[in-house]
């Protein structure tokens, strides 16, 4: 026979479970996506200001490609997930298309065509920053990738890497986002969705 104390505990548990599920499956993804877009807009605005200052032409292929990439990331930020990354990777592998990176190849070429070394470095830095934002968004949304990140960081630490926590996490993220979840595929997937 159930007592009022047990009944109260059962009802409390049910309410807490419903609230927790709502936060985890509804509120948190909404918040994370908003943060991701905000950060990507920030990088894109800085890129615009950099071009507006006359450092690079607005019709330079490197600028156009990087802006297209950032726009695609912003638009399809809700699709940057471990599941989709794995699916994309699998489909590319099945179709024998895993080495085809049209956007990335065009980007590399346009970057190499930049005459000014400082501009090239700065554009590569913008690209790196947008990729870092996307990587954080991808890893932050997956418990599996959190675990993989922790394991990779531990392996690097035990391997004798004398780095600070930040550097260690960056190197671990690079290790995690290689192989089947190649980071270049994420941006390639986003740009392909937009095209």
């Amino acid at each position: 026979m159930i007592t009022p104390i047990q009944g109260a505990e059962a009802l409390q548990t049910c309410i807490v479970v419903i609230l927790a599920a709502t936060v985890v499956f509804k509120i948190l993804p909404m918040y994370r996506l908003d943060c991701f877009r905000q950060k990507m807009f920030q990088v894109r605005d800085e890129l615009f200001d950099y071009a507006a200052d006359g450092n690079i032409a607005f019709d330079d292929p490197a600028y156009i490609l990087l802006r297209v990439q950032m726009n695609a990331m912003i638009r399809y930020g809700h699709q940057i997930t471990l599941f989709r990354a794995l699916v994309t990777s699998g489909i590319r592998w099945v179709s024998g298309n895993e080495h085809s990176l049209p956007w990335y190849d065009s980007w590399e070429k346009s970057l190499a065509n930049l005459k000014n070394d400082e501009v090239r470095r700065k554009m590569a830095e913008f690209h790196e920053r947008s990729n870092t934002v996307a990587a954080k968004h991808l890893i932050g949304g997956s418990v599996v990738l959190w675990a993989a990140l922790a394991i990779a960081a531990m392996v690097l630490f035990l391997g004798g890497a004398a780095w600070g926590a930040r550097q260690l996490l960056k190197a671990a993220a690079r290790k995690v986002l290689s192989g089947p979840i190649d980071q270049r595929l994420i941006e390639e997937d986003a740009v392909c969705s937009k095209a």
Binding site: A10, A21, K26, G77, W103
Partner: protein, 137 residues
């Protein structure tokens, strides 16, 4: 205000096989509704459990007695935690709505100003409120 479309001539266009696009769309739908389905499943299970708990008291006590007994046995820690969580969630949702309105107000202005500097300026393609467009979901 110039329409929010990508007016720049496409210098880069990738080719994607139709079957791959279709597979991705199907799996994308699974991903999208999978999350909602898990959420709905958890909520329904919790509601069903709450219902069976209440049913266990059927015929043994009055509704008023039951409610009083349960209220008297509610843990203060859980009650305070739930109240704080609900308040915080409500505040976040309110702020989120305000943020969307602010973005909508500023987007047109920023676009107009940036178009003066770069007439071929391309856009991200999300809504003016900064949310995912229905067609992109």
């Amino acid at each position: 205000v110039t329409p929010l479309t990508d007016r720049r001539p496409k210098k880069y266009k990738s080719q994607e096989p139709a079957w791959r696009w279709l597979t991705q769309q199907v799996l994308g739908l699974v991903r999208q509704f999978g999350s909602t389905a898990i959420w709905a499943g958890v909520c329904l299970y919790a509601i069903e459990q709450a219902g069976s708990t209440l049913r266990a008291f059927a015929g043994r006590t009055s509704v008023a007695n039951l409610l009083l007994s349960i209220a008297a046995n509610v843990s203060i820690t859980v009650a305070v935690s739930v109240a704080i969580s609900l308040t915080m969630t409500g505040l976040y949702l309110w702020e989120y709505r305000r943020h969307r309105k602010t973005r909508e107000r500023l987007t047109a202005r920023i676009t107009t100003l940036e178009l003066k500097i770069d007439p071929n300026r391309s856009t991200s393609g999300i809504s003016t409120e900064g949310t995912t467009r229905i067609g992109d979901q």
